[in-house]
Amino acid sequence: MSAGKTTESLLTSRWTPYVFMAPVFLYLLLFDFIPLVKEFYLSFTSTSLLTPSVNKWVGLDNYRELFSNRDFLHSLWITAVYTIACVVLAIGAGLGTALLLDAPFLGRAVARTLVTLPWAAPPVAVALIFTWIYNAQYGVFNYVQRSLGIETFENWLDTPDHALTAILIATIWQIFPFSSVVILAALQGVPKELRESAALDGAGAFDIFRAVVWPTIRPTVMLLALFITIWSLRRFDLIWLLTQGGPIGATNTLVIDLYRRAFVYRDLGAGASVGMVGLCIAFAITLVHHRLSSRYELKGR
């Protein structure tokens, strides 16, 4: 009984919020933060994948190597292009889709389900089917190009100029349904009366969007952008299975670089240092986002 009372009082005191937060924190402490601290330490060592407990302290050497390495700087650039393209295209496509599927029409429910199906496709399967679609000789992608009169016998995944685009097509196909579902949900919060009265006032579709729809969904889109940014920064399986970062580093994002260093070159220290750089970037973006959205919130009030 008394034990029950103590728990009860703990749950109604000022400690309640912390007690409620505890499960997540203990969990993430064990599975994220402790491993992260370990990786942070590794980034200052020379450590082989084969002997992870034998660490040779090398100070900042790993980081120095990274920033004097042209290929690494190039991979930062590729990561930036890939991430920005993912955010812009996934949100653009998601917004368009959401607006299309928001208005009522016959079969809307079915359309909503089918259009968002790619979200359910396992990345390993996506990589396999896109490899076959892109096949230069027998793939349907080049077949369509040839039917349109474009003579091509190149595999897009295999040419430095097109590989990133090819990866982006596969990525966007996979992730735009998520953003469309999220935006569609946000659109339900747009007050109908406002929209209708604006239409009665003779406002055009674009004006209605800007004045009525956008202010409502903006916070959601901002958060969505942040999630997509972070997920794109760490997307691995799709890119690895399609190109392993090639050709000539054309699709070599940070995580691919990390993986190659840690697992192909078996250099855990170098891999960890790439991971830390990526983490700093992601964290910086989150902070900027945090600032921006809280400023908006203040303005809004």
Binding site: T12, Y27, L28, D32, A186, Q188, G189, E297
Partner: protein, 274 residues
């Protein structure tokens, strides 16, 4: 886009449908294209129904059923565990003002940034210490670490939308704080649970890096690793690969179809907010 005329809107919808569904369709058609026509200069656009034997073979000769079951256990476990862990923290972030809330929210987010490739070595050591290597439980635990932050944010959004008056009434009736979350808030955000469970379920269903490292025995293999295993050193049986890819995608699609109608409403219920 209500401003556009209906025919244009409908054709846009049809185009979108085609784009969204085509790769699935193509997987299916490829799995049912006779070998001799696989390398034709004009691709075969329709399935050849006499080739359906590959599907029977997949279940007869390959332990696909076991793989799917393992993936299902991992996905379901990840879903249940993610929601169970996230519920109270989400409530806390939504309802209480307390010191360190901002930092806690931010560091929760920070965990989303860790790539699996970076965590796999430390987590392997961790699970080794607990003697949990080669168990599906290890996969569930590892995957949950990646889904919890998103789930917390979605649930928090939904709880934001639950009127506090309802809870106050329960308070007066002598309901404890925990009881309120369990008995009052949880049922009210049920649609959002569906939305959150889709995210967690897909993560568990799809995950590849942990699944191939933390588990070695073939009886515990998940479908992602099983499928990737066919991309061999010397040859890849394309029909087998495509048919298994189809078999692997179908349960996720079916699951999605079941919960889909709750997903939009679930995210709407307060939904994903800034």
């Amino acid at each position: 886009m209500p401003g556009l005329p209906l025919p244009i809107r409908l054709s846009a919808v049809l185009l979108l449908l085609a784009v969204a569904v085509f790769p699935f369709y193509w997987m299916f058609v490829t799995s049912l294209t006779p070998s001799s026509e696989l390398f034709a200069s004009t691709p075969r656009f329709w399935p050849t129904w006499s080739e359906t034997g590959v599907y029977a073979d997949a279940f007869r000769k390959i332990p696909v059923a076991t793989w799917l079951l393992n993936s299902l256990i991992v996905a379901a476990g990840t879903t249940v565990l993610s929601i169970a862990i996230s519920l109270f923290p989400a409530y806390s972030l939504s309802r209480f003002r307390f010191k360190g809330k901002g930092i806690m929210g931010l560091s929760l987010f920070a965990t989303q940034m860790l790539p699996e490739a970076m965590l796999v070595v430390p987590l392997y050591a961790l699970f080794g210490q607990f003697n949990m290597l080669n168990t599906l439980t290890a996969l569930i635990l590892a995957n949950t670490a990646f889904t919890v932050p998103v789930v917390v944010w979605i649930l928090k959004g939904a709880i934001d939308g639950v009127p506090e008056e309802i809870e106050e009434a329960a308070h007066i009736d002598g309901c404890s704080q925990v009881g309120i979350v369990w008995r009052i808030v949880l049922p009210l955000i049920a649609p959002t649970l569906a939305a959150a469970s889709v995210i967690a379920f897909f993560h568990g269903w799809n995950e590849y890096v942990f699944a191939q490292t933390l588990v070695s025995s073939e009886s515990l293999r998940t479908a992602s690793v099983g499928l990737a295993g066919f991309v061999g050193e010397l040859s890849t049986p394309i029909h087998t690969v495509m048919s298994i890819a189809v078999i692997y995608a179908v349960p996720a699609i079916v699951f999605y179809m079941f919960v889909q109608k709750y997903v939009v409403s679930g995210m709407t219920a307060g939904g994903v907010k800034g």
